[in-house]
């Protein structure tokens, strides 16, 4: 009998030793003369349990974790290959509460399949969305996406259907689809997980986007910090070309589409869409003035769809199951699901795909299990380095684009970073400016100069120099940056800074002020 074992090849799992565990299990099975078949699957996203290995049993897949190489021999001794008990037993994978309490749509296959097996992909509903789309007119594909309520998951939350319609209506022989895979926000890794663990879903989403708007060429602009994703994407693209999903006359239709990955070069600003396009054109990633919108004049001046990885990877399930299926999840104008990333100082970190509407408190305590250090959670930053810091009194805010806007915060790309009570929020505020100074493209003054002046003003407040004057100067600087910057880099850096100042003035050496006014 051949036993089937699953060991993740996700780079976070590898960063915790998954490759070493894989090697050790191979060695041990050879030593014991046991036939095993190892699948390098994706990660299920329970990173406090990684490396989490699974074995196939008649009861379903049984999980063990976190496994280190020193556990391997005892796992064999306990007959884990038959799904038997061991101190690392986690039971039937599907029954683990963390997974059970999710609604995995975009992430339906992640962790289950072999990322580069196109047979696995097809078996698990892959390319059904594309096949449906090929039977529809361009207008009807876009109508389906618009009706689903899908909004840009990169952070801006712009309705995807409207963006696509603009590109479709822009008259041009040449159009492009560009995937923004420059996932630079700290606390986010959902793009990386899709690219490493289910690359075909992104490829399928991009093909459908191309079909819908009439583009025959696609680029994935991938950050250079993701060498592992680069390998897997290129491998998957080659397979898709081989199987006729990419290239000329896709699946016997009139539609042709080519796709390639471009490696970025470590500039955070290139996650901003116009800067990304400049970079893709082989220039410095300087932000462009808008209008014209990239949908009208994008890459090389041609109409271009620029979408985030998650937006594009969500398209296939919408085109497979229909707009209303997707739109039935979520709340208000935030329809569908969001892959939420729990990061930082939490006991249980990882990926949770959930319909909009779940509260921060549920995420931090029910899923996250509280802080990793066991100390009280003092603040969380949602939506990356440009997102506001939220204090405990705001933990009941439901995850919803509009509700977050009401409290001057952003959902962004769904990354949540928790800090315990040892954090000095004035230091975090200063870091926000420092990061802006390092990463600013320098085109507009508020961002280029404001970020450096901001650090100086915070230093003065902390030293106790003219505190009242300098606090008002800091707020004034914040206003200037919010209203005067060309893009979100300068325009949103004040969000974390001012929220830190408002909610944690004592960290700046100031008296607690009444923020209710």
């Amino acid at each position: 009998m051949v036993y089937k074992i699953f060991i993740p090849r996700d780079s976070s799992a590898i960063s915790l030793g998954a490759d070493k565990v894989y090697q050790e299990i191979l060695n041990e099975s050879n030593k014991r003369n046991i036939d095993i078949d190892i699948v390098r699957n994706g990660s299920r996203g329970l990173f406090w349990l990684e490396p989490m290995i699974e074995v196939e049993t008649p009861r379903g897949r049984v999980a063990y974790g976190p496994v280190t190489i020193s556990d391997v021999a005892s796992l064999f001794d306990s007959e884990f290959l038959l799904g038997k008990e061991h101190q690392l037993s986690l039971g039937i994978t599907e029954d683990i509460q963390w997974l059970k309490n999710q609604e995995r749509l975009t992430y339906a296959r992640v962790g289950i399949t072999d990322p580069v097996s196109i047979l696995d992909y097809e078996k698990w509903d892959g390319f059904k969305g594309l096949k449906n789309s090929l039977k529809l007119s361009q207008e009807n594909i876009i109508k389906e996406i618009a009706d689903s309520g899908l909004r840009g998951r990169g952070g801006a939350a712009f309705p995807t259907g409207i963006k696509w319609k603009t590109v479709l209506d822009a008259p041009s022989e040449k159009k492009y689809v560009v995937c923004n895979a420059d996932e630079g926000d700290s606390g986010t890794f959902s793009d990386r997980m899709i690219m490493e663990n289910d690359p075909f879903v992104l490829i399928e989403g991009m093909i459908i986007a191309g079909l819908a708007v009439g583009a025959d060429q696609g680029y994935i602009y991938l950050r250079s910090e993701y060498p592992h994703a680069l390998k897997i994407l290129n491998e998957a693209i080659d397979i898709a070309v081989d199987k006729g999903y990419l290239g000329k006359n896709i699946l016997g239709s009139d539609f042709s589409f080519t796709l390639e990955v471009t490696r970025a070069a470590g500039a955070y600003i290139c996650g901003e869409e116009t800067s990304l396009l400049e970079s893709l054109e082989g220039k410095r990633g300087m932000v462009r003035y808008k209008p014209p919108l990239p949908a009208i004049e994008g890459l090389y001046g041609k109409p271009t769809v620029v979408n985030n990885v998650i937006s594009l990877a969500t398209v296939p399930i919408i085109m497979d199951k229909g707009a209303s299926f997707y739109a039935n999840y979520g709340m208000g104008r935030s329809k569908g699901t969001l892959p939420i990333q729990l990061a930082g100082n939490l006991k249980q970190t990882g990926l949770i795909e959930k319909a909009f509407g779940i509260s921060l408190r549920e995420l931090l305590y029910d899923f996250g299990g509280g802080s990793a250090t066991g100390r009280p959670i003092k603040a969380v930053q949602v939506g990356g380095p440009l997102g506001a810091f939220l204090p405990e009194e705001q933990f009941d805010t439901p995850l919803d684009y509009e509700k977050f806007t009401e409290i001057k915060a952003v959902v962004g790309h769904g990354g949540i970073v928790a800090f315990d009570d040892t954090v000095d929020m004035s230091k975090m505020a200063r870091y926000s400016f420092e990061f802006c100074a390092i990463e600013s493209c320098g085109k507009c003054t508020p961002c280029r100069i404001g970020s450096t002046r901001g650090m100086e003003v915070i230093d003065k407040i902390k030293e106790g120099t003219d505190q009242e004057k300098n606090v008002s100067l800091l707020r004034d600087l914040g206003d200037t940056m919010v209203n005067g910057s060309l893009c979100a880099m300068g325009g949103m850096t004040p969000f974390p800074v001012i929220s830190a100042l408002n909610y944690f003035p004592e960290d700046f050496g100031l008296e607690k002020i009444d923020t209710s006014a």
Binding site: S11, S12, I14, S15, L16, G45, F47, W48, E50, E183, G184, D185, S186, G187, T188, F189, D191, R192, S224, E225, Y226, P227, H228, T262, R263, A264, A265, G266, A267, Y268, S279, L280, E281, G282, K283, R284, G285, Y300, Q341, L342, A343, G344, N345, T349, L351, A372, Q381, P385, G415, V417, A418, F419, D420, V423, M428, Y431, F435, I438, E439, C441
Partner: protein
């Protein structure tokens, strides 16, 4: 410093390969740095002629991107994540530990040329903070003990 013939040949080969590729500079510079470990300033003139760009434009391009470097780094590159998630799990201690242990600051190389230390802003390993990357390998939940091991292996490599 003048370039060796083999380096020049490598650069020339890549220039020709990407000559007709739209947005050539990005893949070109990656290709050169992948092979040589850096993009030598001595190559700017050749590239500028081939691509009909000014030397200033090449310089502007290279210096815009954190990833590209114009000097040969040490044998191994150790990047330490400085972003928020890693900060929340004590990355500052890891930064200090590495700098002390190696006796260098960021953007510097150890005397034995074994390690170049660089900051990085997010490796997408935020669920396993603090994180570092040694060459192309990400390591999660790093501790001083793990750093010792990484440095030891890098020095022996």
């Amino acid at each position: 410093m003048t370039l060796q013939t083999t380096q020049l040949e490598t650069i020339q080969g890549h220039i020709e390969k990407y000559q007709n590729v739209p947005g050539a500079l990005l893949p070109l510079m990656h290709a050169i740095q992948d092979d040589l470990g850096y993009v030598p300033e001595e190559s700017y003139k050749t590239i500028s002629k081939a691509y009909n760009l000014s030397v200033a434009e090449i310089h502007g391009f290279i210096t815009f991107y954190h990833h590209f470097r114009t000097h040969l780094p040490g044998k191994n590159i150790l990047q330490i994540c400085r972003a928020e998630s890693c900060q929340s799990m004590g990355s500052e201690n890891i930064e200090n530990y590495c700098q002390e242990k190696l006796g260098i600051n960021y953007h510097q190389t150890t005397k034995d040329n074994s390690i170049t230390l660089e900051p990085v802003y997010c490796l997408g390993n935020c669920a396993c903070s603090p994180a570092i990357m040694i060459n192309e390998e990400v390591v999660g939940r790093v501790t001083p003990e793990k750093i010792d091991q990484i440095i030891k292996e890098a020095r022996e490599s």
